[in-house]
């Protein structure tokens, strides 16, 4: 009897695992005197880390010997780095994309070759330059921040000045500010896509799509992830001045409705305060399972919160939309906590995820940390796909039937963000959407939710309480799906 009671108590004890039971954080020591405001991280073919920092240093770190070596110096606010070989790096600094090459094999760069500088500089501090990333065809992509009316421009500029691009909270008075540029393998520099505000992150996902993050502000009701395609306009108007064929007007004189009709919307929104304040770079888990159950998935950094994000794309009518969910939120008290300011991310050959932090001028932190998978399978959402009547959620492992079948364990809010000139947007037309039915797949890994109503151009914020898998609790109980398009039932498919 006592044994039965004890067993019963054990059975009903709430699961208490956290993400720290599956992953551990390690802070990487950095050289004395280095201001560790990280602008870029990349791994060389030989396994060493190359990192660039705000004050212009490019340093190499050998994880085996735990030693640092200076590779290059004197760059201007480098905010991206890409390894070409063990002796060649591409670095994006404010004035240009630069190829650094160690020609004599002594471990130090000898040539600083200009790869691309065909864009304007007004000297405004907000004109950062990000990238590069490379696609499977060898094209490189960089992105160029708009300028801020928190400060002016210099007496001397680089590139043509256009006063039509000068008005605005964020502005583009010199060429290709607010653009993503493409550099082809033969070195041709092309304006590729426009309409960005602060596109701090670029990445190529496992399917080869070019993804760019952008930060909440004027014309962005909340921060976003775009699937960027050539020739498209992504909503921040000032860069239109530099679009070939654009009429000779200030784009801000166009109505929001007109601009809305011209733009391509985000694939995935990061609802402000819930998911992100300032998303940073994307990186694909290419570790082949050495980083836990998320192989092939895309992680995104975040400046203000001590967590990352994971994005779950969903294709509807050939267009990408989908969900985002936090990663490493609510870590336990085991060992070192994850800091904020996670500006740059890179997977190491050993499958750990390296994070470069920064706080330069904004909220954040300084330093390098890495997240290492220690084993086991956390209970988390692996996919969220839209159905004609609701959503399918697939988990990393089978969930307990009792909790999964309860309607009350699924709460849905729906809203949209307004596209307007103001800085950010409140959630508009917030509604509670009842979940009317739950189905559990035979293998108990997929929950199919039926909602009372689905409407396009809205965000569906799903809260899952109490879902468990034996002794494991769900690592993240909130997930947000950006529903741009409804999925219509296939013709002839039996319902």
């Amino acid at each position: 009897m006592l044994l039965t009671l004890l067993a019963s108590l054990c059975f009903w004890a709430a699961p208490t695992d956290t993400i720290s039971d599956y992953y551990t954080i390690e802070t990487i020591p950095t050289p004395a005197g280095l201001t560790v405001e990280t602008g870029g991280l990349t791994f060389l073919p030989d396994g060493r880390l190359a990192a660039c920092f705000h004050r212009g240093e490019v340093m190499l770190y050998n994880p085996k010997t735990k030693t640092w070596k200076l590779f290059a110096e004197g760059l201007h606010d480098p905010l991206g780095i890409l390894a070409v070989s063990n002796r060649e790096l591409l670095v994006m600094q404010r004035p240009e994309l630069t190829r650094l090459t160690d020609t004599n094999g002594d471990g130090v760069a000898d040539t600083y070759e200009t790869v691309a500088d065909q864009f304007g500089m007004s000297g405004n501090y907000h004109e950062f330059a990000f990238g590069p990333v490379r696609d499977s065809k060898g094209n490189l992509y960089i992105s160029l921040n708009t300028a801020s009316n928190g400060a002016g421009i210099r007496d001397e500029l680089r590139g043509q000045y256009d006063s039509l691009g000068r008005p605005g909270r964020m502005y583009a008075c010199v060429p290709y500010r607010g653009w993503v540029m493409q550099i082809t393998p033969n070195g041709k520099v092309k304006p590729y896509a426009s309409g960005f505000r602060s596109p701090n992150g670029l990445g190529i996902d496992a399917q080869g799509r070019l993804l760019v993050t952008d930060n909440q502000g004027d014309w962005l009701g909340t921060s976003k992830l775009y699937n960027v395609e050539e020739g498209k306009f992504y909503g921040h108007p000032t860069s239109l001045v530099w679009r070939p064929g654009f009429p000779d007007i200030d784009p801000l004189t166009l109505s929001p409705q007109t601009l809305d009709s011209m733009r391509t919307v985000e694939s995935i929104a990061f609802p402000h305060e819930i998911m992100a304040h300032s998303p940073t770079q994307m990186v694909v888990d290419n570790s082949g399972g050495k980083f836990g159950p998320f192989a092939g998935q895309t992680f995104v950094g975040e400046m203000d919160f001590p967590h990352l994000l994971r994005v779950l794309p969903d294709m509807v009518d050939g267009q990408m939309q989908g969900a985002c969910v936090p990663f490493f939120a609510k870590g336990g008290s085991n060992g070192t906590p994850l800091r904020i300011g996670n500006n740059r991310l890179a997977f190491s050959p050993d499958g750990s995820l390296w994070l470069g932090q920064t706080d330069h001028g904004w909220l954040g932190d300084r330093g390098l940390q890495r997240i290492r998978y220690t084993g086991g399978t956390p209970l988390d959402i692996l996919a969220m796909t839209l159905t004609p009547t609701g959503f399918d959620l697939t988990f990393t492992q089978p969930v307990d039937e009792a909790t999964a079948r309860q309607l009350a364990n699924y709460q849905v809010r729906s809203y949209y963000y307004e596209y307007h000139r103001a800085y950010g947007s409140p959630q508009k037309d917030v509604q509670t959407v009842p979940v009317t039915a739950v189905q559990l797949s035979p293998d108990r890994r997929t929950v199919s939710l039926t909602l009372s109503q689905l409407r396009p151009k809205r965000i569906y914020e799903l809260h899952l309480a109490k879902l468990t898998a034996g002794s494991k609790q769900l690592m993240n109980s909130v997930i947000c799906y950006t529903l741009n398009r409804l999925r219509t039932p296939a013709v002839g498919r039996a319902n």
């Binding site: 950095t30 004395a32 005197g33 280095l34 201001t35 705000h54 004050r55 212009g56 240093e57 340093m59 640092w68 200076l70 110096e73 004197g74 760059l75 201007h76 606010d77 600094q93 404010r94 004035p95 240009e96 630069t98 190829r99 020609t103 760069a109 000898d110 040539t111 600083y112 070759e113 200009t114 500088d117 500089m121 007004s122 000297g123 405004n124 501090y125 907000h126 801020s148 009316n149 928190g150 400060a151 210099r154 001397e156 500029l157 680089r158 590139g159 909270r169 502000g217 305060e273 819930i274 203000d304 904020i340 706080d359 330069h360 001028g361 904004w362 909220l363 103001a422 800085y423 950010g424």
Partner: protein
């Protein structure tokens, strides 16, 4: 009657003293999540009117707390979680004496608070901001007894203050290695295009330095007595210039100096390579590649500019307009009419620039 007059006089005096204690102060933002004013000193019992002007790129608020209550208010604000935005991230608690609403970029709000004798923190309680974005109002009749601002623990970023202080004393390089000349620093410099490259050259008394403009591919000015100071450029969001350390003795007035044949120059910067740490710049002008290496002139202030030119069938012209106090000495050709003409096929050329 006399007694009545005395009472009236006392009342008037009190009113006068009272009126003198109404104070309005405007606070705005500065780089690195900071208020521009961090320490305010007023008399006790002042009715303080604070106007908060948000010049930052993100929303902030301003909350005045009871003495020693800043951290507690910040923690309670963080605990608001999802309810924070609707409450302007201000928790309802007695430790909050007054507060603004959420102030969007470019907007302003104000608050009024009465402060008795004491130190009253003011802070932005947006999530994560409160650890760095704060200051203090000292209400005191004895301002001379306040702690030195550099050691005042009621002010933020003591480490950075110490860093700046250390820099001023020790001339630390700000890098994990000492400054070694020659040195290259790409940054924002005054009187130069935004793609500026400062180069420090070794020599006596701090050596010499110059700025090369990568946008227009030309040397802009030179100075002696030191290299550059990045303190202002690094502290903040990057709008401020890197500053010259030393005395500028030469400024170029010619614009881009080279002409290929009679063509208007169209230039393109191609980067540089380091030769014993000296940068050799590489640029194209009308399809002709020129490499330029600059060294300090031996024996006094001045520079030796050495040019290596790719083969060309056209004659070249180098413009060097006379300037007071500056002497030019070309390695080939002659300086006539403020220019040096070089025949087609010239591959090497140098110009020594010196002060008289």
């Amino acid at each position: 009657m006399y007694k009545s007059l005395l009472l009236l006089t006392a009342l008037l005096l009190n009113l006068s003293a009272w009126a003198q204690r109404d104070t309005t102060i405007t606070i705005t933002t500065s780089g690195g999540l900071q208020f521009d004013q961090k320490r305010l000193v007023v008399k006790p019992n002042t009715r303080l009117h604070l106007v908060f002007l948000n010049k930052d790129d993100m929303a902030h608020n301003l909350v005045v707390t009871r003495p020693n209550a800043r951290l507690r208010v910040v923690e309670f604000a963080l605990a608001l979680g999802d309810k924070g935005p609707a409450m302007h991230h201000v928790p309802a608690m007695d430790d909050v004496l007054a507060h603004t609403v959420s102030v969007e970029p470019g907007a302003a709000d104000s608050l009024t608070v009465r402060v008795a004798d004491g130190a009253y923190p003011f802070v932005c309680t947006y999530p994560g901001h409160g650890a760095v974005m704060y200051g203090v109002v000292y209400a005191t009749n004895e301002p001379e007894k306040l702690p030195d601002p550099k050691t005042d623990r009621n002010l933020p970023n003591l480490d950075r203050v110490a860093e700046v202080g250390m820099h001023q004393h020790a001339k630390a390089s700000g890098h994990p290695y000492p400054l070694t000349l020659p040195a290259v620093c790409r940054t924002f410099m005054a009187d130069c295009g935004p793609a500026a490259i400062a180069v420090g050259l070794p020599g006596a008394d701090g050596g010499q330095s110059y700025v090369f403009d990568a946008g227009s591919c030309r040397l802009r000015y030179a100075w002696s007595g030191g290299f550059v100071d990045n303190t202002e450029q690094w502290d903040g969001k990057g709008q401020r210039f890197t500053t010259v350390v030393g005395d500028i003795y030469y400024r170029d007035t010619d614009g881009f100096p080279w002409r290929v044949g009679s063509q208007t120059p169209v230039v393109q910067f191609k980067g540089y390579r380091l030769i014993d740490r000296y940068p050799e710049f590489r640029y194209l002008v009308n399809g002709v590649e020129i490499r330029e290496l600059v060294r300090a002139r031996a024996g006094g202030r001045g520079l030796v500019r050495t040019f290596t030119i790719s083969p060309t069938r056209q004659p070249l012209t180098f413009n060097a307009t006379a300037q007071p106090g500056i002497q030019y000495k070309p390695s080939a050709g002659r300086l006539q009419n403020n220019q040096v003409r070089l025949p087609a096929g010239t591959r090497q050329f140098s110009l020594t620039l010196s002060t008289l």
